[in-house]
Point group: C2
């Protein structure tokens, strides 16, 4: 019986926000941003274990969040790397007693409003398809930044997290990427797709947006305070 | 001296929302969605006149919104067409006493949180460049919907409204499009770009999002009730 293991990424430095506090630790409605996704995974009855990836500088902050909020499924904190890709790879290698067929849900803590339903869909699809991406349609018109040329938004999807894979598959994807000197992938499905593996798409949710700008923080605070 | 004229589009039928009330008339925090953008344009000191484009079925609803909220800059309601493009064209032709050099700001009422600053930027840029598009960076990773192939989000921008043009230019863009049997443009800058005119990009704002799904309504309500 495979386990469902969540790898929560909280190693970002938030350089886009001009703020001393990395965004995953900003207090929103009294709780650090990281708390929200962590809590949703912790409360999901199909999630067996959680590992949080963070920087060495933030180790005690993350430890405090886990302890203060009684997040019992968090088994360990793993030290991340210089890039998102390296952080995920460190996370994958840092999970103890993992089986090749275990299901790994990789989630950015900057998406605090992930839902139980999105996690359900990821796990269900991964049992059959071994590789899952969470996507939503693009509702704005798109143009190329150089030259105002239109891009057909119906041929494009926006990628969210979690992205979910059998352990052996995602580990192989990372190792192949490193062999080919790919070191700065923005997400994990893009690495798995390089193996010519079919990736099942499941539906995300606009509320599962990534907190990137100050406007996102305004939106998030409004939703959480409601 | 050119006038600054806002053309507010409220002719959509909201087919994506499975709701009997078209979204521009849904009540959010006690006011119809259309009210919010209309009010922002009405209160902007550089906007001289406003025209609302809607369907014949909604004429009295729109009339009521304008009267009840004392939106004094609204000069008339113009009946739209079967498509967004046709509605804009009807709107352009329905503006009385317009001069060729007047500045026309075309805005989707489904973007209720347009700001004074975005309108400022549109007018300022149009005085110099004659054609203006409101854009924001894309923060999610993008993939092609068929095949999980990555699309470089740094080469793509998301388009918002208002889009702003000298009257002669936008009228010509619409007439050229019709000659070429283009009838279903999703926005107006895409028609102007066909004339090989340089379009100035100004910065939008994530809060100026388009209300498309029920999740967008949840986000909007949270922000407005705050």
């Amino acid at each position: 019986m495979s386990k469902n293991i969540a790898l929560i990424l909280a190693a970002g430095i938030g350089s886009r926000m001009n703020n001393d506090t990395p965004k995953q630790f900003m207090l929103i409605d009294g709780k650090p941003l990281l708390f929200y996704s962590l809590s949703t995974f912790n409360n999901h009855d199909q999630i067996d274990e959680i590992y949080v990836v963070t920087n060495i500088e933030n180790l005690s902050t993350v430890r405090g969040i886990i302890r203060d909020n009684n997040l019992k499924k968090v088994r360990d904190i793993i030290i991340g790397g210089k890039t998102r890709q390296e952080s995920v790879y460190n996370g994958l290698k840092g999970i103890p007693n993992v089986s090749l067929e275990d299901i790994i849900l990789i989630h950015d803590s900057a998406r605090p409003l992930v839902t139980k339903e999105i996690i359900d869909r990821n796990i269900d699809a991964c049992l059959t398809y071994n590789a899952v991406n969470t996507v939503i349609p693009v509702t704005d018109s798109l143009i190329e930044s150089e030259g105002n040329e239109s891009v057909d938004r119906n041929k494009v999807l926006a990628v969210q997290t979690p992205q979910t894979f059998r352990y052996d598959l995602i580990l192989k994807a990372h190792e192949e990427a490193l062999k080919e000197n790919i070191t700065n992938a923005g997400d994990d499905a893009s690495l798995v797709s390089r193996l010519n593996v079919n990736i099942k798409q499941v539906q995300g949710n606009k509320l599962n947006f990534k907190v990137t700008t100050m406007e996102d923080l305004i939106i998030l605070k409004a939703i959480l305070e409601r």
